[in-house]
Amino acid sequence: MRDALIELLGKPEGIVLYQLLDATQFTIYLSLIAFGGGGLVGALIAFLRLLPNRWAGAGALSWIWFFQSTPLLMLLFLSGLGVPRLFGVDVNPWTAAVISLTIYASAYLADVWRGAVESIPAGQWEGARAVGLSFGQTLRLVIVPQAGRVALAPTVGFLVQIIKGTSLAYIIGFSDLMAIGKRWANAPVEGTEPFIIFPLMALIYFCLCFPLSLLARRLERRLGAVTQKGAATAAA
């Protein structure tokens, strides 16, 4: 692919485009890992929030509140510089970036999912418990399938936030699309001026994010319609 691009676009441009696209894979990996990690932690936090235990609920709320109020940049600095220096250990940029973005994503995803579960009418819980389902069964068979529909669109939408968020990881030394692009923009090579490189990077990010934004919007429209119809049927 590298040679094809060089043949197509010439010497600096072909190499630059190849390197940018090559670095994009790390943006994608980091986004996916952060989404996965954030989803797991976020699900745990949302679950704690739903437990009847008061302390678990307060803990979950504090987690959500604190990490939604903390700038992602601070999480990156803390996990990439602060904690390693405090304990005198070496943390590589991958680990630090994954930890920061996971925590960041977990706070938002937990909030979305908690909201989705709480949007399910109490009658669903009561009905399920009345027919003899346990707490776990109620959650798994009755609540989550309904809440999932509500939560799907904002969850996909948040993936866009994560992808955009990964662009900050270069600050702690993570080598992704942002890092490689910035290096080229600083290089005194003709054809890699900042007004060419940055729009090109924006285009690559756009190609990653925009389809997801569209998908989120379509899901919102479709599933929103379903829940409204469902509510209408329930009311009738």
């Binding site: 109020s69 700038p71 405090l86 955009k164 490189i197 990010y205 994010c209 925009f210």
Partner: protein, 225 residues
């Protein structure tokens, strides 16, 4: 592991830097929030009124802003545009422009959703009374959309405030810049960035309180049903 917060707090220079940085962060955010809101009003109105060409351009602009990272926009505005058009501004002006453009994209999407959500009956009633469409928009659609969307706008504003730290990357001496500087001098990274986090949270709480007061004042007419 030893925590030495006092190494930061006993230095008057560091405290002054933090104060100065926090002030600049707050002022920059408020200024670009206001300018971005004005721009967003124009953008969302062009889309809502389906102005030919301009409406589509506004839609495309909004999508581009919302689907690319702030830092790429910032670098383009700070390093790309000046080179392309041949002008030179101080760092803070680049930051102000980039943040304004960024804010406007997010705000315009919220406002547009607000216009759509206004009760159709209200608009039809005004039309039946012979009120002209621009007046309907200014007097009926806009105030209601603003009242309905103010909480979303506030939340977005605070969310965007928390991302403004990236302006330190182009040399603006904001709160994050102050932190990075103090860190490079003191090597107390953990303490420095915890302090910064606390200041950021404090400022966002202040913004939240201020915006709630503003909401209560501006939309007193909106009855709580």
């Amino acid at each position: 592991m030893d925590l030495r917060f006092f190494e930061i707090y006993r230095s008057a220079d560091y405290l002054w830097l933090l104060f100065h940085g926090a002030t600049l962060s707050a002022v920059l955010t408020i200024a670009s929030g206001l300018l971005g809101f004005l721009l967003a009003l124009g953008l969302s109105t062009a889309r809502h009124a389906r102005v030919p060409v301009l409406g589509h351009l506004a839609a495309a602009y909004t999508e581009i802003v919302r689907n690319t990272p702030l830092i790429v926009q910032l670098f383009f505005v700070a390093f790309g545009l000046p080179l392309l058009l041949g002008y030179q501004w101080p760092f803070w002006a680049h930051a102000l422009l980039a943040l304004t453009l960024n804010f406007s994209g997010y705000f315009s999407e919220i406002l547009r959703a607000g216009y759509v959500g206004v009760d159709k009956g209200c608009i039809e009633a005004a039309r039946a009374l012979g009120v002209r469409p621009p007046v309907i928009f200014a007097k009926i659609v806009l105030p209601q959309a603003m009242a309905n969307m103010f909480p979303s706008l506030s939340a977005q504003f605070i969310f965007l405030f928390l991302t403004t730290g990236v302006v330190s990357e182009i040399g603006v001496e904001d709160l994050t810049h102050a932190g990075v500087f103090i860190d490079s001098r003191s090597f107390r990274s953990f303490e420095v960035f915890i302090t910064l986090t606390v200041i950021y949270i404090g400022l966002s709480l202040m913004f939240k309180a201020g915006l709630s007061l503003l909401q209560a004042r501006l939309f007193r007419w909106q009855s709580v049903s």
